[in-house]
Symmetry: D2
Subunit: 367 residues, 4 copies
């Protein structure tokens, strides 16, 4: 089945495997007239890229993006934007061992079960590298949202037991730490925790939070296409995410109605909310407050300690995974969360433009 396309009007199709020739994305439905070049996209791919820090894989992924279509004289034309990143780090490793068994926590077995065989080189399509195309396309969505006055910011909220709560929007602080925690002290403690994990040949999970500012009230739909439903799908579609929360999230199940309801208040000549337990969405539609999302990410499944598993012959065996593997996925996934949220929000904003007969009448008189 076809599962590599995301969105209704701003439609993104990604392609590519970890160790194939290239990875990419085709954006179909990007509005015309946006100034766009590779420099708008490259910084986002660089954020996804492993750095030189102690917790990131030393693999040299230059990940240079190339725009192959859809831009003319510096502006988007309304036609598909094809984005490509060549794989430059295709080591001719010996994968025969890994091909012979199923790694716990990975998609090896389920891929085989579905398709009858699998690309066993570096995870194939199930590799984290698959998100390259998402991030490239997300960068374009983020640029448009910015021009509409809507900004998104994701950061690492926790790694293992080390957790922070972000008080204010400070993009620089996020990018200045290896963990993407905008808090030097927490970053230090998280790195110490991760060092311990590595020494124990183990790995850690964590939480990414994404906050959206400037989204007007009225975006999203009341039933199946609720804004939170689509954001939830967007985040859960990122490998390793096992839970998604909106606003107070899991806390609502133990809260009282009197605590959880956000009182409306008339402020600065418009409607606002005194609190934001709802995370900016009521009945599936944005309420004009900040959107608050959280994705819970599991520990890297590739750990160096011995594990039990089964090989293709149906024998119970013990394996020890080798190679380069980050002890935590979270910091590199921050920009992926941001990208997926951006794709969802832009699409919802575009879909909303035909929500009222008055909009149609005004538009078609104008054009």
């Amino acid at each position: 089945m076809a599962g590599s396309t995301f969105g209704t009007l701003f439609k993104v199709t990604t392609w590519g495997e970890s160790h194939g020739k290239a990875l990419g994305a085709v954006i179909d439905g990007c509005p015309a007239g946006l100034y766009l070049n590779e420099d708008d996209i490259q910084p986002f791919l660089d954020r996804r890229k492993p750095g030189q820090t102690s917790i990131a894989t030393p693999r040299k992924e230059t990940d240079q993006v190339e725009i192959l279509s859809g831009v003319f004289e510096g502006k988007t034309t309304g036609t598909p934007i094809s984005l490509m990143v060549r794989n430059t780090s295709q080591k001719s490793s010996d994968y025969s061992e890994i091909a012979s068994y199923y790694r716990p926590g990975h998609a090896d077995y389920t891929f085989d079960a579905k398709y009858g065989f699998r690309d066993y080189t570096g995870g194939g399509r199930s590799s984290g590298r698959e998100t390259t195309g998402r991030v490239a396309a997300g960068a374009v969505a983020l640029k448009i949202l910015k021009e509409m006055g809507i900004s998104l910011m994701a950061y690492t909220r926790s790694i293992g037991p080390v957790s922070i709560e972000m008080q204010s929007f400070d993009r620089e602080a996020i990018y200045s730490t290896a963990t993407c925690m905008p808090d030097k002290e927490a970053d230090r403690r998280a790195l110490a925790y991760l060092k311990g994990c590595m020494e124990n040949k183990d790995s850690s999970g964590g939480v990414i939070e994404c906050i959206v500012d400037g989204l007007p009230a009225g975006i999203g739909d009341p039933v199946f296409e609720k804004l939170d439903a689509n954001l939830s799908k967007a985040l859960m579609s990122i490998g390793s995410v096992k839970a998604v929360e909106i606003g107070d999230g899991i806390l609502v199940s133990q809260a009282l109605g009197s605590q959880n309801n956000d009182p409306f208040v008339w402020k600065d000549k418009k409607i606002a909310k005194k609190t934001n337990h709802a995370g900016g969405i009521l009945g599936g539609i944005s309420d004009g407050s900040q959107i608050v999302l959280r994705a819970h990410i599991k520990p890297t499944p590739s750990i160096f300690s011995p594990q039990e598993t089964v090989n293709k012959k149906g024998e119970n065996i013990e394996i020890a995974i080798k190679g380069r593997h980050d002890p935590v996925i979270v910091p590199r996934a921050v920009v992926v969360v941001e990208a997926m949220a951006a794709l969802t929000l832009l699409d919802a904003c575009m879909l909303n433009m035909a929500a009222r007969v008055d909009y149609l009448k005004k538009f078609y008189k104008r054009t």
Copy 2:
């Protein structure tokens, strides 16, 4: 925008408002040859219906379903199945007050912001009654899944602070309590807690868990259409759900890789997993274990204690909601969770049938 259709091959479109003439669903793409009549659907609507218990609204919703099309000589024909439930309890109440302000925690304001006005009678399309169509369609999906050997079971896992963990599949136990907790003792404590809430003019949230047995490995897709991503959307699209978990869910963010990975094991001549932290899905594709999902549901926003809000004139006011409102939504939402999970799984199973060239070759030789 169009947001009332769910699914790709087994496509369900719901319609209807709380106090309109009727509510319903059209199932397009239901496979032909299924024995189906109203008795297959009615019990599910009855589970959604308020009972005579202390915690459920006394509104008399008979909710009799009528099959209007798509069934001939007792079997589905492959053409759209139109299901309708007439609204019989359309009280001619005075809604002028409620129309004048925005209830906290409800979609009143966001609906207005999107569409320019709203149906203020009983919540309109944002009412919990909207789920009537989902449950009716879900009953059909559940019947097909059952014939394929796949069974689903949802139950109340917690109400406020009262929580249980289900050990084994016991459908009867679930339906035998007012809370849908399959544990008499927990049910008693939860009811006591809810009684307290009601006395305080307050309300409670809770958690619904859904467990799926018999789903073969290989269902779902690797990227945007991951099985967990679609289940997540399905559950988050139910009003009041604010968080969704798969398997260990939020716990993964604090777990170690060595704890979270599920070892594979060769058992009964096939591959199984020793543990199921993953909740039955790896890389977006089912692994043959139980699927385990949880939805966190916020407290009923309609509470009888006074609340601050804003009216349409832009004045800050205090309101006190009247009428009939359950102190908790959870027990009535159990069957809705089951329905939404069923719709998602059946669709994924149908989509999977063309995953391999060999399947096509075999099928078209056979037909």
Copy 3:
């Protein structure tokens, strides 16, 4: 598979069989704020209805439409509009004979081949009555288009050998004849021809033309979703249509480029075309001229003269169809063509609203 939904933003799902309980349509995505009641829709269903003329079946289909949802205080709310027409003419005929064989020119055999059995009462879902839902939904689309300054008009261009060419928009003239030919003389000749067909126990085909005025330039898309491609699908999806033409249609294959190109000309301070061989669409996008479409409709397959066919036992037999059958489908299909064109155009207009970044910026500053 699911094939009863049409459109992307203005999404229509139809349901119902010829002799079932009811037929209907659900419109999802209808913009909010449109004044709508049954009187806006009924006249279109009446045009579809057989009259008392010599060429139309005497079946009494009152076809009263009921709006079940999506309208509040006289206006559309943005939520699904459920439209229903009860079948009142379900004769308890003896269908055992018709059930035993495959009528030539009908879908009897292909339905069986696909679904394993079929609803043999009056054609089931393949009956012309299936278009009831299309016409009801189309009436809503036509009302919105009208408010946007876009008007559609379909008429009978030919019946058998009797053909006319319409020079000017005269809606009254179309409805004033039994054939829907806006030309009394042609109508008379066509009726005479049809009388001959009936005497010979035979039937006739014909051509319906649809002309669209007021559609601005810029609607439609350049590749797979060309406006003519979607109109073509819309018309070809009407039972009995076997060819679709845009503008000069089949004549282009014998024309020279110098004849077929329409020169642009600056007129009344805007761009126009001197001629309209293109039928108002260039490269899949409207050019601001009239849209001109034609559908070629086959003769009614139900004829009273003896025909060869096969029964379910695999025997070659001769049959003679009985009952009530129009000698020509064309006049009753005129409103169906208009409806399908309207659904296509409105959807394309809604989709176009997010075509440029400037549109998004303007819209979201305004809202």
Copy 4:
């Protein structure tokens, strides 16, 4: 809006402009396990490529296809197949003149009207080169269909006044002539006619017919997704197609029912039809006979004789188009028609696999 994706399960997204860096297609949903390499695709692109004949543009398009993803160890993996063709013939011509006016018969004006500006180099996305991606993807669909026993063949049925009727399947004969007419004598006459057109600085249209063998009965759907409706859209989405016919096509409007109905007959232990006026489709579903389609293609709009038009300043001017332009598009479009029909049919076959409950039960017991 997003209009560059085709298909539901076998989903193709094309991208690229005439004079951009590259063109391509992403196939999402290709079944796993198909042996595939560039040699399976290149011959189809070569058929699309201009030859060295008198009627084809001398532009050197090598059009070498590269598979960038989705194939592992020679077989499709079930993940997206990215196909790319680099543009090698990007002449740095002076396009300032062409940029200043609107060419009659081209999409110049409508593109501007939609997007606010256009890529004026060689037609941009509206160029015939856009079909490169369609043909590459179609080649993959054709390979799968072949393995299922379904074959397609398109050929030139007419060029201007020179017309043939094909009696039997002879692929070699089609490819052996410059016109793709499988008839040496007709080819000679057509070439003479085209020579005359060129001398007169004019161009010619023509008709392409596509015949499908081996498609089983039961493929397609009864209402909006009729097989003929989708084929019609597929063909009409090819630039320059202005009419589409199925079976007898436009002739049905003048035929009698007794002539047009195809009698069923029991033959070789199965149901067949004595004639095939229907072109293999009844009620939107295949009947097991040959599928017969025709596309009517307009004359190349780029002609060398002087034409009236308007420039961007709003002045009426006369232009004379220069450069390299074929006097007829038809021969190069033959393989495009074949590709589009193949994409439509394969998708319909895949969708059909879940049409009956019995299919699901059998499949899920088997897997």
